[in-house]
Symmetry: C2
Subunit: 690 residues, 2 copies
């Protein structure tokens, strides 16, 4: 009879021989196999579950059968009584011993460093390695003859059981420690941050700890609550940034501060109050208390970032746009930003990059990882401003372009935020010029049976960002607007949807007795201006890198992941690129905040990377104006878009013939107000056809 | 003509050759000579003053003359205009260049690590090396084309000018930084703690930074304000601990917490409020603002310590007397204990040692440094409790003895705190039994001419601690009380000052129409009990170390440094020891706090040392009771006190004869109530002579 047994772990493939009677968890630890445990192998947390893989494994020389593990233990039965039965075949590895050769599978949910699988193939999965972790310990009771403080004995237990050495403790932990130890009868769970500092203590076993990842946008604040033990998003919430009442866009908020001393403090209080509301909402949705949230990570543009942290943003309102700090904000207590989660919860904000390029851009970079690829990658993050990142592992450039809120539905006559009832998809028949569309809340197209019923509840209320991109691109494809964006009034004869609107024309998408949704010439101009600012910024960065082509595009931001990237390219919102390498990536800044929440190594990674990002101030580059003017055309005045043309036949450009006309061309007349005054329309630029 | 010159620095003796034109400060830096500077050699802080030593120095081969230094510089003239003339011969070393061989003296006040000379020869001087230091820098202005945050450029300047690398910054510094830089026109002074973290920033040059060292006693809180650049105490203040209203002694305060939930919070608020009052008082006395105080260090017994830091002290009220923490409290912000000094000021508290042995004892150990000597050293720190430390570099023991407040003047019929009008010195003529005395506020003895006038203003109001020790010791030397402390009523025939007082006798020290200051039998008993508790504790520690004799004694605490240690020994308050090795050291705990404030290395030193201290719970030691009883006698029932007898002839012991009487001796009868009930007097123990 052998005295030891072979234990093979999958999926790691690690193997070793152990004396009979060795607990499976202990064998795993000896082999460095990743199995989770909060209670330290006491059979009470239930995190160390494994599955025996039964069968004859010739390659391992193992006949793995159930009798080679010990019978169900008291621990396991007790655990199932309080927590419910484990899935079939599962065992608590700490309370199951090896009696013969076995193959043991460690399911993903039992691994400490489990992978959070992201849906898109081109981005990295997130390995779970949060800064805040829980540890359960049983602490020695005090002895008058060997005086040693409760904290010292707690730390000795954490050292002995968990190899956590030289821990520090927050003063509030010291304040609560004695009561927690006695209420827990010397059994407590502690939360430790960065394997360095005890930040919370609870009597007895505590199995869950949560963190929140927040994207503080100028318009919207979006937050996710994550279970830090599983990485799972357990609740999500969003709300308007209440600072909006001080100004719609960033510059008007800075102006408010400049005009009103103390205005920064007001806005700081407002955003913090909103965050407290969000935290409470998230906690309620997840059925936890706000004090169960032990960490919060933040991204935001520089002005949102500075206001959140109580830094007057006035320097960001004018050249040279100096940030107060471009480092990650780290190690703050929640109390220091008046956030009512656990008072010792830690705050982490990704670093800002430059006066116009914030922690939101850092988040997008962390999410999209252009620094890990050779492919020349463009990240465009569209909010009230558009942030642009371009580069690859060799070099990264970043810039910000003031697109304005057109892509969010503002400045568009029938625009609205993405919400049920908003038109998000549009097709226009190039022959009849008749449209069909889909609204948020229904999968049906407007020409399909049942559409009216399906949309009765929400109504059809406006056009959201992705709908605006599609309808203008479709109007271009159908010839309703030309490359310069002028609505062709001559078409009014073919379809009554094209009709005069003052001195210009409009295209009516939807009309009832109560409501008319029309795309006006002004709407087209607003989108042209926004997309031209963005495209010009991209072209500048391409120049800086000396490239004529990008290889991968991530389109992030306000559109969410709903935008059809093909239409974005037809419109010339993004440069030409093989369409299969263009992804709508949703809120990549927020994803960056979530990555930083779930993996502390990624924090260091992005902190290092942002230092290597070269910041470009597009507004002061001499070529910006010309690039801007050229990018007003759809998709572009000069850039050929070969990849796009290979997939979508584009109307013939009329630019050549017009330039050939010479003299005071329409384009020539239009340039001036667009560039200097930023006007979207004037009688002199878009006249009614004679 | 030579191209370089020899520069010799005194007192370090360092020397080197430098090109003509080298600034003296630069030469000093190159040689590692310790010269202070806040402004980094810009000629504006004035801290780097040196003196040319003129003359022919044969041993150096130098003819040091004034013409070998550059003429008075513009910097020096400008500095003197704003700061007043430097002492004769002084130069700013940063603004003076070498033109030939010179001998340069660096005065003590120009050294960074200057020594704070302590008055007692047997203790170490304090080398100035505070945790918080000031640095002046000129920061590069922001450049839109090389975007870099204000914080980053500040840190680059600190790195370049001061070799301070990887600094962190408090969030409140980041909040104030941009405004400070612009108000200071890119010149700022920062305070850095532990060469690690920027904790404050001011526009322009700031030359002073302060710290406070606080001893939080049960009865009195004493605080010193120190200039952290010179080590000088610039203001001192003390006030009653307002917690007294919750209980005179420690145990009654713990009882209050036990009986009243939230009582700990009340007491925490009280002590913090008192500290704020003290800080304001210190600042006013020194003519500074409270926000100029950048650090505070604390000592206190365990209960005072825990209440200060918001830790419920209830566990310290009963066995096993578990401390919440026995580590130094470090790195806290002043705001975390509601202390209204600079919000980012750092808080440091020395470590507690055991449930009854606190940070005050750690402070006394740090001040008296028994761990640096071979001499077997006893530290006795007398407050409401007495802390005892015994040992040397090989081993240290610590204990606490409940002496009660007798030595502070409480429980004594005519006792009072040490204040003007209190009797502090007493002599009794052994023939006439007539006393003479001195009171605080006058140098005259009561039998000297002018005494009445000199004390008219204060009156003669009571007897303070040192006076009580002296009068009882003198009563013993004069035969008014015997070794057992019984006042000899038979002497009433010789001097009317000895007169009946109920069933016992008293000795009248001072009498007017308004007031009689009398030492009663009860007073003698109270002192006997207190000193016996202390002595018994000391004897226990001597037993633990296996020694029969101590070699050095530091007598610290409530007496201040006023006590005459000879009388303390006659009374048997401390064990026998050569008198020249006994020192009254005043508030050594508070000195420990001051040392920790001025030298960060000493913090680490004491944190290490206290871990090696063995804690003895005297109350549970079986031999304590017998030691206590033996120590009731004056100076002691059995210990011979040979060193004392060599200096002071002591009355013949009558113990032998009484023990020889056999049967139910007076001493035998007295033992019981003293030990069991702690009564200070009862008819059965001190009877009127028949």
């Amino acid at each position: 009879m052998t005295q030891d047994a072979l234990v093979v772990f999958t999926p790691s493939g690690r193997r070793g021989r152990f004396p009979l009677g060795t607990p499976v968890l202990q064998a795993a630890r000896a082999l460095g196999v990743d199995i989770d445990s909060v209670c330290g192998g006491r059979g009470i947390c239930g995190r160390c579950q494994v599955v025996l893989t039964e069968g004859e494994f010739a390659k391992h020389g193992v006949n793995s059968c159930a009798s080679n593990l010990s019978a169900r233990s008291d621990n396991e039965q007790t655990w199932e009584k309080t927590h419910g039965a484990m899935s079939p075949g599962r065992r608590l590895s700490c309370s199951t011993t090896v009696l013969g050769d076995v193959v043991i599978d460690v399911p993903a949910d039992s691994q400490v460093h489990r992978q959070i699988v992201r849906k898109r193939a081109e981005v990295r999965d997130i390995e779970l390695d949060p800064a805040v972790r829980l540890y359960y310990v049983e602490v020695q009771q005090p002895d008058m003859h060997v005086p040693s403080s409760d904290l010292r004995r707690l730390k000795e237990a954490l050292d002995f059981d968990w190899r956590l050495t030289n821990l520090q403790a927050d003063i509030r932990v010291v304040q609560e420690l004695q009561s927690a130890l006695r209420r827990g009868e010397w059994k407590v769970t502690v939360a430790v941050v960065d394997s360095e500092r005890i930040i919370a203590v609870w009597p007895g076993l505590r199995e869950k700890v949560y963190g929140m990842a927040v994207d503080v946008g100028s318009t919207t604040i979006a937050a996710h609550l994550c279970d830090l033990q599983t990485g799972e998003v357990v609740a999500s919430a969003g709300k308007m940034n209440p600072q909006i009442r001080f100004g719609e866009d960033l510059m008007s908020r800075v102006s408010y501060v400049m005009m009103k001393p103390g205005g920064d403090g007001e806005m700081t209080r407002e955003v913090r109050a909103a965050l407290n509301g969000l935290a409470a909402e998230l906690a309620e949705e997840a059925g936890i208390a706000v004090v169960d949230i032990l960490e919060a990570t933040f991204v935001g543009n520089p002005i949102m970032h500075h206001l959140l942290f109580g830094i007057n943003p006035v320097e960001l309102g004018g050249a040279p746009f100096a940030l107060a700090t471009d480092e990650a904000v780290t190690g703050l207590w929640a109390t220091e930003i008046d956030l009512h989660i656990h008072p010792n919860a830690r705050i982490y904000a990704l670093p800002c990059i430059a006066g116009h390029v914030g922690a939101d851009t850092a988040g997008a970079i962390l999410s999209e990882t252009p620094y890990l690829t050779d492919a020349m990658t463009l990240i465009v993050d569209i909010g009230t401003n558009a942030e642009i990142v371009l580069g690859n592992r060799a070099r990264l450039l970043a810039a910000s372009s003031p697109t304005g809120p057109a892509f969010e539905g503002a400045q568009i006559s029938c625009g609205q935020r993405a919400a049920p009832g908003a038109i998000e998809r549009v097709r226009i028949d190039p022959v009849t010029l008749e449209p069909r569309f889909r609204v948020i809340g229904s999968e049906l197209w407007s020409d399909e049976a049942g559409f009216a019923d399906a949309t009765a509840a929400t109504g059809i209320t406006g056009i959201c960002g992705s709908g605006i991109v599609e309808i203008i691109a479709e109007m271009y494809l159908a010839g309703i607007i030309d490359q310069d964006g002028v609505i062709d009034g001559a078409l009014a004869e073919r379809n009554a949807r094209i009709r005069p609107n003052g001195r210009t024309f409009g295209y009516t998408l939807y009309e009832t007795d109560e409501r008319t949704l029309q795309i006006t010439q002004n709407d087209v101009r607003a989108i042209q201006l926004a997309k031209a600012a963005l495209y010009a910024g991209v072209r500048l960065l391409m120049d800086k890198l000396g490239i004529a082509q990008v290889e991968r595009i991530s389109l992030a931001g306000a559109f969410g992941s709903h935008i059809d990237v093909k239409y974005a390219m037809i419109l010339g919102l993004i440069p030409d690129c093989p369409l299969e390498h263009v992804a709508a990536v949703g809120n990549s800044a927020g994803t960056g905040a979530r990555i930083a929440l779930l993996n502390r190594g990624r924090r260091e990674e992005i902190e290092t990377i942002v230092r290597r990002v070269d910041k470009i101030e597009t507004a002061v580059e001499p070529s910006f104006q010309q690039y801007f003017v050229d990018a007003m055309a759809i998709p572009h005045k000069t850039d050929p878009f070969p990849n796009l043309r290979a997939v979508v036949p584009l109307p013939e450009s009329k630019a050549g013939e017009r330039v050939a006309q010479g003299g005071r061309s329409r384009r020539g007349r239009r340039e001036r107000p667009l560039v200097e005054g930023g006007e979207t329309s004037s009688p002199s630029t878009t006249t009614l056809p004679a």
